[in-house]
Each structure stands twice: as structure tokens, then as C-alpha cells.
């Protein structure tokens, strides 16, 4: 009965449960005098075989991203104008040439992936099990989930489609519609001006009758629930809080330093010596091979194609005489002028510092989503039909009854403790390791059926859960960056079903207690065990004690770890 935001969660429940989260030359710039000789020996001087340096491959990948991103498939095959992006790459080349200078440029993606993997695997507020409305779930409360819904709607189009087991959920937000259908593109200015639209989301869940074509199941009869939701606080990476955090961050200070470094007037000569020859070489090879590859990379969005283009660009620069001459001239300048050498070293150092500060910043951004938050949801539930068979003598009759639909208004509040990197937030009630979640709802029948003992007020529901991270658990050998924690959760659920009052074999008050221990056993794999005690079932008054255990597979965690540890 616990519902959490999850990207691709599939849950098969029961005693055994499985969850799968799842150019033309420009006017010549003033040229600094080249020093033809006097350069000190440099074992790391690389004027050829640039593609063998992984740091340079990563630096040129930034140029490739601009080529692919700026390519306009609808126009004639003109090379995208990307001359302004060579400077940063050439600065990286020159930094690599500095003797005894170890590039940390390549640190970027590795750090990024490591941070992401650590954040994803440490996540304990994610719905891997079935949502509370589905049967067989091991949890009793629903956590706040609009940010992920919003992120999906914004990042992937006006409507998202998620198939999980035998159900499919279509979700969207007013902001997704505003930006998808002409009210303006998804700029940050529009995002900031549409707070109401980014704080709300709607979704509908359908029972899937044909798994090979789930969208074919979209019909009124197949709806199991629809929901409108408004969150109290924007915790997405697009929020103003993230922009404010950046403005006062160490990352901004280093980014300012990098920008100041790159705007040094010496880069006018770098442009002449390196940027323009590099750009000319790129344009010469456009028609020969790059055109098709870039168009293909943009069409498919396949990052491996970008890597191939990056390698091709570097090989092209290896063989380009103008670029090679420019490289020697630039290096001669650096070698003969202490101020230039210091500038290149500083830029190289600032770029490395930037990578580390960016990693720290991402951790702080992740913390912004923590602390107190909540949402209000209004939904209409369409319970499954109930089939009953009555035996009478030798004859048996079967009747199928449509369960009446009802509205539900729900308030969800949660507090996830901040990590050690940020202690500016108000503490959660469960201190530094416990996440508190509270749900309360009231249900109403729009058309109560008196013969079924229904009144307008169907009932009320409240649930409370405390979840604690207990450390890495029993797993002694973990993959690098795997921050999965063993978790313990205690939850209690109370439900008042008014229509059960004075009904034979039914109880109006249902109380359920649950304790659940989740033990990580491998990358993205966990072993949850839960015990549930209930005062009665919704359809009968029998008390029960139930034990559930199983294996959950979280493909998001596994993917993040594979990327980080590749």
C-alpha cells in the first residue's frame, strides 16, 4: 500500500515478489609573434595522435555535442557554425601539452557518473513495490511524487506513458502542454513564469488488456483511476532554488574563473593559430564523411556515434598541416612566455576544479529535494469488478458486480533528512536517518447506492511511516559508488469504511501494521522482508498476519552503477 515516485517500476507481488525499476576564412586577428625555437623539451607534447589521449577525446566531445546539436536536418547539408566552441577544446590541448601537467579534464564525466550512481543507489524514497492502491504491496503509505512526474512530462513531451505489469499510466502537467503546444518553448523564463503549471500534474491509470499494444487499452472502461495532484514545493532541477544555490556556490566562482581565463586577450592569437585551422579542417571534411555521421547522430540520439565523430575529428586534426603548425606556434608562445604558461596552467587547474565543484554542487542540488514537502491529490478510483459464485443445490450461478466508483481527496506530507553536505534545512522529526511520511484521505461516493449501504461519505484513511537507513547492511563486497542502504520501515494504516458498518461479516474499522526490512544483496538487487498484521480485510472481518519476502531488481540503480563503473 506504499506508493512512491518511480521511473520504471514493475512489481509482481505475492509471497514471492519481483520489482524491476526497471567555413570561410574570417578577417585575421592580430597575431602574437611566434617563437620558433627555445621551447623546452616536453615529453607530453602531443601534436599528433590526439585521439589517443582520453582527456582530449572528452574535450572534443564537447565540440561534437555542439556540431550535432546545432545541425539542422531540415536545411541543406551545411556544416553547423561552431567556431566559438574550438577555443575551449584548444585550451584543453594546450593544457595537455604543459609538461608534468596531468589533465583532470576527463574527470568530468567520471565524477558525474559516480555522483549520480551514489545518489541513485542511496535513494530509499523510491517506489519499487506496487503502489498502495494495488494489492499485495508491502507498504502502507504514499510518498510525495509530483517532481518525477513533472520531470518526465517536461523532458519527454506533453504526455508520458509508463507501462507497469498489467497497468499503464499516462501522465502530464499543464506546463508540458503549454510548452508542447505553442504557448512558448520550454525556456527557463517560461518555467519561472508558470509556477502553477509546474506544480501540478494529472495522470490516468488503465488496465492493460493487450501488452503488445498498451495504448490500445486507453478507454473509459479500462480506467482504474485518474488523479490530479499539486505539490507544495518545487524540488526539480529547474526550480528557482537550484538557480539561487548556483549563484552562491563554489561552482559559480570557479565557472567565473574559467570564463575570465577563456576571455583573456591571448585567446585572440589562439583563435588565429588553432581555432580557425581546426574549424577549416572540420569544414573541409564535412562533405566527405561528417555530414552523414552527424545527421545520423542527431536523428538517433546515439551517444556512441558522437564518440566516433570525436575520434574522427581528432584524427583529422592530426593530419591537418595548418593545425599542426598552429599548435607548434602556440606551444612556442607558451614556452617562451611565463605569463602565458601560467595562464594555461591556471585554466587547466580551474577546469579540473570545476569538475570537482560540479560534483559537490550536484550533491547540494539533490539535498534541495529533501526536507519537508507535501502534495494534495484528488482522484477518482474505479475498483476492479467482483465476481461471486453462489452454489444452490446442484446449480451454481455466477454474478459479476461493478464496484462503485468513488472520489478521494488526499494530503501527503513527507520529510526526508538532509545529507551531511547541507545542514541548513530544518531537521526532520526522525533526525538524520529517518524519513517520515504521512498520508490522510477522505473518500466520497458521487452516486451512493442505498441498497449497498453506501452514503455520500465512503470513509477515511490515514497512514504513517517511518523509514530508517541502517547502513550498508550485510553486504561486505559492494561495487564502487554503490551507496545502497539496508532500510527498516515501520508503518501503520487506519481505514474507516462507512458502508461496512452493521454489515454481517464486515468491519468498518480496518487497522494494519507493517514492518519491513530491505537488505541490499547486489547492485540494484535487494531482498525485502515484511510482516503485516491486520484487524480485518476490506471484504471480510477476518484478522490476519501475513509475511512477504522476495527479490527486487532496480534497473535505474543498476544502469547508474554500470555507467559510473564503466
Amino acid at each position: 500500500m506504499l506508493k512512491l515516485p518511480g521511473r520504471t517500476a514493475l512489481f509482481i507481488a505475492g509471497v514471492f515478489m519481483v520489482g524491476i525499476n526497471t567555413m570561410a576564412q574570417s578577417p585575421a586577428a592580430p597575431r602574437a609573434p611566434a617563437q620558433a625555437s627555445g621551447a623546452p623539451a616536453c615529453s607530453s607534447l602531443k601534436t599528433t595522435a590526439l585521439e589517443s589521449d582520453p582527456d582530449l577525446v572528452k574535450a572534443v566531445a564537447a565540440v561534437v555535442a555542439q556540431i550535432v546539436g546545432n545541425y539542422d536536418n531540415s536545411r541543406s547539408a551545411q556544416p553547423p557554425a561552431i567556431r566559438q566552441f574550438w577555443g575551449s577544446f584548444n585550451a584543453a590541448v594546450l593544457g595537455e601539452m604543459q609538461p608534468k601537467c596531468v589533465s583532470a579534464d576527463g574527470l568530468g564525466n567520471a565524477v558525474q557518473n559516480a555522483v549520480k550512481a551514489q545518489a541513485v543507489t542511496a535513494q530509499t524514497n523510491k517506489q519499487v513495490a506496487a503502489p498502495p492502491a494495488q494489492g499485495q504491496s508491502t507498504s502502507l503509505v504514499q510518498k510525495v511524487g509530483i517532481p518525477q512526474l513533472l520531470a518526465f512530462a517536461v523532458e519527454n513531451g506533453a504526455i508520458t506513458n509508463k507501462v507497469s505489469g498489467t497497468t499503464m499510466t499516462l501522465s502530464t502537467s499543464p506546463y508540458a502542454f503549454l510548452t508542447a503546444f505553442g504557448a512558448g518553448s520550454d525556456t527557463q523564463a517560461n518555467y519561472n513564469a508558470s509556477a502553477w503549471a509546474t506544480h501540478t500534474g494529472i495522470s490516468a491509470t488503465f488496465n492493460v488488456s493487450n501488452s503488445s499494444d498498451p495504448l490500445a487499452s486507453v478507454s473509459r472502461k479500462q480506467v482504474s483511476q485518474w488523479q490530479a495532484k499539486a505539490t507544495f514545493r518545487d524540488t526539480s532541477i529547474r526550480s528557482k532554488a537550484v538557480a539561487d544555490l548556483y549563484a552562491n556556490s563554489d561552482l559559480k566562482k570557479v565557472a567565473d574563473a574559467v570564463a575570465a581565463d577563456l576571455s583573456n586577450s591571448w585567446f585572440v592569437s589562439v583563435r588565429t593559430d588553432l581555432d580557425i585551422p581546426a574549424d577549416n579542417a572540420y569544414r573541409k571534411s564535412w562533405a566527405a564523411s561528417l555530414d552523414t555521421d552527424v545527421a545520423d547522430a542527431q536523428r538517433t540520439g546515439d551517444s556512441t556515434k558522437n564518440d566516433a565523430i570525436a575520434t574522427a575529428l581528432l584524427k583529422m586534426l592530426d593530419a591537418d598541416q595548418d593545425y599542426q603548425t598552429g599548435l607548434k606556434n602556440a606551444y612556442a608562445q607558451i614556452s617562451s612566455q611565463a605569463s602565458l604558461s601560467a595562464l594555461v596552467k591556471k585554466l587547466h587547474s580551474d577546469r579540473a576544479d570545476f569538475d570537482q565543484k560540479e560534483a559537490d554542487f550536484e550533491k547540494q542540488v539533490a539535498d534541495l529535494a529533501k526536507g519537508w514537502n507535501g502534495d494534495f491529490a484528488f482522484s477518482e478510483q474505479f475498483p476492479a469488478t467482483v465476481t461471486s459464485t453462489t452454489a444452490s443445490g446442484t446449480a451454481a450461478s455466477t454474478t459479476t458486480a461493478m464496484m462503485p466508483a468513488y472520489f478521494q481527496a488526499e494530503l501527503d506530507v513527507t520529510c526526508e533528512p538532509y545529507s551531511a553536505t547541507d545542514n541548513t534545512g530544518k531537521p526532520c522529526p526522525l533526525r538524520s536517518t529517518g524519513t517520515l511520511t504521512f498520508n490522510a484521505s477522505a473518500m466520497f461516493y458521487p452516486n451512493p447506492v442505498a441498497s449497498l449501504n453506501e452514503k455520500t461519505f465512503r470513509g477515511a484513511h490515514a497512514a504513517l511511516e517511518g523509514q530508517w537507513a541502517l547502513g550498508p547492511g550485510f553486504l561486505r563486497i559492494k561495487q564502487e559508488n554503490d551507496k545502497s542502504n539496508m532500510t527498516l520501515s515501520l508503518s501503520a494504516n487506519y481505514e474507516r469504511l462507512q458502508e461496512n458498518k452493521d454489515q454481517p461479516k464486515k468491519r468498518p474499522d480496518l487497522a494494519i501494521g507493517n514492518i519491513k526490512l530491505t537488505i541490499p544483496i547486489s547492485a540494484g538487487v535487494a531482498f525485502p522482508v515484511s510482516f503485516t498484521v491486520a484487524s480485518a480485510g476490506e471484504q471480510n472481518n477476518e484478522k490476519y498476519v501475513r509475511g512477504n519476502f522476495g527479490i527486487t531488481f532496480d534497473l535505474d540503480k543498476l544502469e547508474a552503477l554500470l555507467k559510473a563503473n564503466r
Binding site: K116, T187, V258, S303
Partner: protein, 114 residues
């Protein structure tokens, strides 16, 4: 101000002309830094992030503007920043967009004094 028809990173400006750059993020938060002629620039306003600077010097001098656009790993691959350049004596131009590169993408624009 004029833009080189063959190179949208190259501009010709009048001496003492004030240049304004507007960086608008699309599908990502607006997290930018900028420098001109070796100095950090302060942002004039946010979302879009606007930077202004005076290009001073002698005829033929070339000055460099550098921008750093930060992205998040969670941004979609199509996340980018648009770059609008305008001069106080007239002329408004679009430079190439800056597409997602982790952790950031840097670019340079060159201003030659007429």
C-alpha cells in the same frame, strides 16, 4: 554592431559601443558565468541571464567574451542555451546555440573594434 556573415562568433563594433548578451536556457535551468577581456562579468538579470560590457580600445583591437553554461546530468540531451547578441548602436544577432555537455559547455565570441 555587425556579425560576420560567415562566422557568427565574430562581431565588429564601434569603439565604446556597449554589447549586451542574453543567454536563455531551454529544457534546463539557467546556470551561467561570463567573462570579458580577462575579467568576470556580473549578471544584469536572470532567466534569461543578461550580461553587458563596453568594448573599448583602438581600431583593429579584438576582445574576447567567454561564456560557461552549466548542465545537469538529469537534463535531456536536447537541453541547450540560445545566445542573443546586441549592440547599443544597433544590431541584434543570434549566435550558435550551446548544447548540453557535462559538466558544462564553454564558448567564446570575438569583438573587433571598427
Amino acid at each position: 554592431m555587425t556579425q560576420d556573415p560567415n562566422d557568427n562568433s565574430l562581431y565588429t563594433v564601434a569603439s565604446t559601443e556597449r554589447v549586451t548578451l542574453s543567454l536563455q536556457s531551454v529544457q534546463c535551468n539557467c546556470l551561467t558565468s561570463a567573462g570579458f577581456d580577462g575579467q568576470t562579468l556580473a549578471k544584469q538579470s536572470a532567466a534569461p541571464d543578461v550580461y553587458s560590457f563596453d568594448v573599448t580600445g583602438n581600431s583593429g583591437d579584438q576582445k574576447v567574451f567567454a561564456g560557461v553554461c552549466t548542465f545537469s546530468p538529469s537534463n535531456p540531451p536536447t537541453a541547450h542555451y540560445t545566445v542573443q547578441v546586441s549592440g547599443s548602436l544597433g544590431g541584434s544577432f543570434q549566435a550558435s546555440s550551446v548544447f548540453k555537455t557535462l559538466p558544462a559547455a564553454a564558448f567564446q565570441l570575438f569583438f573587433t573594434i571598427a
